[in-house]
């Protein structure tokens, strides 16, 4: 678009005489911020409200305790899907957490600032921004096809590990780095080895941060669809081993919405997914609080 060349205009009279006072500016800023806040909260209420209203009716004991029956009308419930979701979640956490912590310890305590750690950090940051379907295709090629894991829980979990590892490493690394240097000095000055210091002082002190990291990545496991679509298949049966496929709640929402007419059930499944996320958050926080209190990490209650 061409810019119009406007001739210099004399400053309007109100401007030259009376600038907008800071007080007015502040009022305007507050109003804008307030409106933004209201919009955000409204949006949240509208979305959750919509899901609740449309999906709420479908949540019955039968819905929770029977398996999906398939078909264009999406008969049946979500029992197997809930169980599959929890299995996948646990499997992913069990593989992911040790790897993430080990890599973070390496970066934060051993590599500190050499070129190698620089490359890793950069790579990790880069990977964190790659769309999940790319990881899905990677998982498909490597785990499903090359390693013959087929569409399975294991392929899905390993793909999620690849997807979530960068975030886990960076967040745990931050947690480790946030542990005061003075703790390290105290431990070393007592004649403890570096490994003892890491294992017995730094890791326990970083537990709250590590827990946050686990919650963050678990949230990702629960909400992921694309990467699992191409690595877990979509069988609605209960997996019988690590090598059988399955369907998570988020995937089920996708299937119901795309392949069936049971849109309300998709919303109902969404509600259960949200509830599951809340429950997991609560449980994890409880455990973390209990641990911190027992170990004396926190000053007081």
């Amino acid at each position: 678009m061409d810019k119009e060349i406007t001739p210099l205009q004399p400053t309007p009279a109100w401007r030259s005489t009376q600038k907008v006072s800071p007080r007015v500016t502040q009022k305007i800023a507050f109003t804008v911020i307030w409106i933004c806040g209201v919009i955000a909260i409204l949006a949240l209420f509208v979305i959750v409200g919509y899901v609740l209203v449309r999906g709420g009716r479908t949540i019955t004991p039968e819905f929770l305790f029977t398996a999906p029956e398939g078909g264009i009308s999406g008969e049946g419930g979500i029992a197997t899907v809930i169980v599959t979701t929890i299995m996948l979640m646990l499997l992913t956490v069990v593989i992911l957490t040790p790897l993430g912590i080990a890599a973070a310890i390496y970066l934060s305590e051993y590599a500190r600032d050499n070129w190698f750690s620089g490359v890793i950090r950069y790579g990790v940051d880069l990977l964190a921004g790659v769309p999940s379907i790319i990881f899905g295709l990677f998982g498909y090629v490597v785990f499903v096809v090359a390693l013959h894991f087929n569409f399975s829980l294991l392929s899905g979990a390993l793909t999620l590990v690849a997807l979530e590892l960068p975030v886990m490493i960076r967040t745990v690394e931050e947690a480790l780095k946030a542990v005061p240097h003075s703790y390290r000095e105290a431990s070393l000055a007592l004649g403890c080895t570096k490994w003892q210091t890491i294992r017995q002082v730094i890791l326990p002190a970083a537990i709250p941060g590590i827990v946050t990291s686990i919650i963050l990545t678990t949230g990702r496991t629960l909400s992921e669809t694309a990467a699992l679509y191409v690595t877990m298949g979509g069988s609605s049966a209960l997996p019988t081993s690590l090598f059988s496929g399955g369907r998570t709640l988020a995937l089920h929402v996708y299937y119901l919405a795309m392949d069936t007419t049971a849109f309300d059930k998709a919303m109902g499944t969404g509600i259960i997914l949200i509830v599951l996320i809340i429950i997991i958050n609560l449980i994890t926080h409880r455990i973390s609080r209990w641990y911190q209190k027992r170990m004396g990490i926190k000053e007081t209650e």
Binding site: A186, G191, C192, P204
Partner: protein, 251 residues
């Protein structure tokens, strides 16, 4: 009597910057040696050399020799972990672990492989008593060490160090963040401790050095300008700069 620790012609560099210049000093057994001097004069640097805490900083260089019981503490094959068990340290800022009081004190012993809980309990109690903290915390052993006051935290750190039964205790301005009452308690404590331990303390507090130490070294710009019996240094300093410093004319 041989000195417990000895520095012989020690120079120390952070990169190109020289922080210690040709320092030689003895730290005598079962006595308290104080190091005084304005900030930036190298007191902390020197103290940390004595248990090799300087090795946590990269790009440093050491010349000269440091001896413990007449043996070089950095000779080939000398174990840094073993040295630090024999030469304990209390830092300027109290730094208890985010653990319970009990676990703070038991920590060093646990890391040495002790798991016998009754023996550990005895050691914890003994150390807390030695650090004059037992009466205040005996009912709260399983509360967080971070919940204590600053003075109590510093005594907790002393107890934690005593629990591994070192021979030498290094203290880097242990009272700088504490109120006068806590400071006095720690000074009394030092008088108790010197019966069993050898103590080196850095302090910027002249009265503290005069009250609490037997020997005193004055650092200025990385040099040990003067060293001698505390009474001598404070009543008849040989060096004009020492005199100016202890009489408060600079610092």
């Amino acid at each position: 009597m041989n000195p417990k620790m000895q520095a012989i012609n020690v120079s120390f560099y952070y990169g190109k910057k020289q922080a210690l210049k040709n320092v030689s000093v003895d730290i005598k057994e079962n006595e308290i040696t104080a190091f005084i001097g304005p900030s930036g004069s190298g007191k902390t640097t020197f103290l940390r050399l004595l248990n090799r805490m300087d090795e946590l900083v990269r790009g440093t260089r050491l010349e000269g020799r440091l001896l413990l019981d007449g043996e070089n503490i950095r000779g080939t094959g000398r174990d840094v972990v073993e040295l630090r068990r024999r030469v304990g340290m209390v830092f300027q800022q109290p730094n208890p672990f985010p653990k319970t009081i009990f676990e703070n004190v038991a920590f060093g012993r646990r890391m040495l492989g002790m798991s016998h809980s009754q023996k550990l309990e005895e050691i914890v109690e003994k150390s807390l008593r030695e650090a004059a903290l037992w009466d205040e915390v005996k009912d709260d052993l399983h509360h967080s060490g971070l919940a204590l006051s600053g003075g109590q935290q510093q005594r907790l750190c002393i107890a934690r160090m005593l629990a591994v039964e070192p021979e030498v205790i290094l203290m880097d301005e242990p009272c700088s963040g504490l109120d006068p009452i806590s400071t006095l308690r720690i000074e009394e404590l030092m008088q108790e401790l010197k019966k069993q331990y050898t103590i080196a303390i850095v302090t910027h507090n002249m009265q503290q050095a005069a009250r609490a130490s037997d020997w005193c070294g004055f650092f200025l710009l990385g040099e040990m300008l003067e060293y001698g019996a505390t009474g001598e240094i404070f009543s008849r300093p040989q060096n004009k700069k020492t005199e100016d410093y202890i009489s408060g004319r600079f610092g």
